[in-house]
Symmetry: C2
Subunit: 272 residues, 2 copies
């Protein structure tokens, strides 16, 4: 199933690809990652929580829009997110989910129908795939994609603003650029506030508590070439860590890379 | 004559202040700089050239929009720029002009009526005052304004794209910021493409040919505090130098700081 470059392709064709992919996932025929698929379409991170935690988590997202850009939320017990696609069913439409009990991952499944309860609330958060596509369309090279590895992810000492049981440090992803490319990347990502927006830092990693840039929290050691500076964006791993730390009795998330493919175009998420 | 903060004030009141100031200048009663006056209103750099050079200079501006953002241009012999204000007369509406003969400044005058000819073409270029106001409204502190000095201006090795006799290096102004403030400043100024737009560089000055950051081309030695990086914007001094280098037989510019005060709001020049 081949994706198309967003914005340059035909809207209906891109939408068709997204719906077909979601259909394959729903039918249990696609169990792999969605990275790089259904190009041009917004993919989202998922968090599912019992409704008693929903108000606090929603507030946490609102207070920390850069790491937790909330782009969709369900009613309690309702697995639909019509704002992201008419037929979306959060119980079946991701290719792999992680189940958490008291903050510990206890399983990975490709369907959460049997875990779904009538007090479940689903949160869909914007993800960096959308802005990475915009950066690439502008001709910028994203190092970890160029090298075919996962994103370079770091723990910082920048606190999130807490809400109820939810708190913790901001997690960032790093992309190295020359200063002119970094400026262009800041310009572009600032137009995507719903998918992490502009970076939170560039340059000296120790200013945000990163002691060793060669040693990421996750991902390979990065290659930063002469004349390049590391640029740091708030990352969707932040809510995952926050959720684990909060040790809520029960929660479900997507497995990293296995995202919700929506019916919304990345281009629709640009503010200009 | 007291200005108002753009955007927060009443449009009509701000316009009134601009028109009154322009009236005082036209009448020869205000001969001083316009820096910080008629707040909220766009001020512009001026270049006046014989029409035989106009096409090349217009193309030079179009090819180099960051240092030379063209916001208004007259017809040959017509001193009006209705797009910037119904009653503007470029012969009388600036408080100080510089006259150039063969690339050398030969005089400063407060009225160029006696120099104006029916083959004269006026160019008005956007200036950094507009984006500095937007930065300050966002709470950012601009060091040279905080210290009450002129902008820190540097010669770079970044070439402009030539057009006819017009060519030369890009001149930049530098403002030091912490990385998060620099990111914010990039976000904000990228929304003002008609007043220099986003910076062209940050960090290591030698990457753009600046050997000694402590020794600007003009302005005092800057204070760059620990944790700050220098951020460099293309500067309106660029066309002045280019004009001098081109050694056109006759040209007139504004005197730095003595700008054309227009009827356009800075807010109108924001793309979002």
């Amino acid at each position: 199933m081949d994706g198309m470059i967003g914005g340059s392709g035909d809207r209906e064709a891109m939408l068709q690809v997204a719906r077909e992919l979601r259909g394959e996932i729903r039918a249990g025929r696609w169990l792999d990652r969605t990275t790089g698929m259904a190009r041009g379409m917004v993919q989202g991170n998922l968090v599912v929580l019992p409704s008693e935690y929903a108000a606090d988590f929603q507030k946490f997202c609102e207070r920390n829009p850069k790491p937790c850009p909330l782009i969709g939320m369900t009613k309690p017990g309702d697995p639909g997110v019509p704002v992201l696609g008419d037929d979306i069913d959060l119980r079946t439409d991701l290719s792999c989910y992680r189940v958490f009990e008291n903050g510990t991952a206890t399983g990975e499944v490709s369907d959460i129908s049997r875990y779904w309860r009538d007090d479940m609330v689903g949160f869909v958060l914007g993800c960096s795939y959308s802005f990475e596509e915009a950066l690439m369309q502008d001709g910028l090279i994203i190092r970890h994609l160029e090298k075919g590895t996962k994103a370079y992810v770091y723990l910082t000492n920048v606190p999130t603003e807490p809400s109820g049981p939810f708190s913790g440090p901001t997690i960032v992803s790093m992309r190295p650029f020359t200063p002119p490319d970094a400026i262009r990347a800041i310009e572009i990502t600032s137009r995507f506030p719903d998918v992490h927006g502009a970076p939170i830092h560039f340059g000296d990693p120790s200013m945000i508590g990163i002691e060793d840039i060669a040693n990421p929290y996750s991902g390979q050691p990065p290659e930063i070439r002469p004349g390049e500076v590391p640029v740091f964006w708030a990352c969707g791993v932040t809510p995952q860590i926050v959720l684990e730390e909060a040790k809520v009795p029960f929660a479900i998330t997507h497995k990293p890379g296995h995202m919700l493919v929506t019916d919304r175009l990345n281009a629709e998420f640009s503010t200009t």
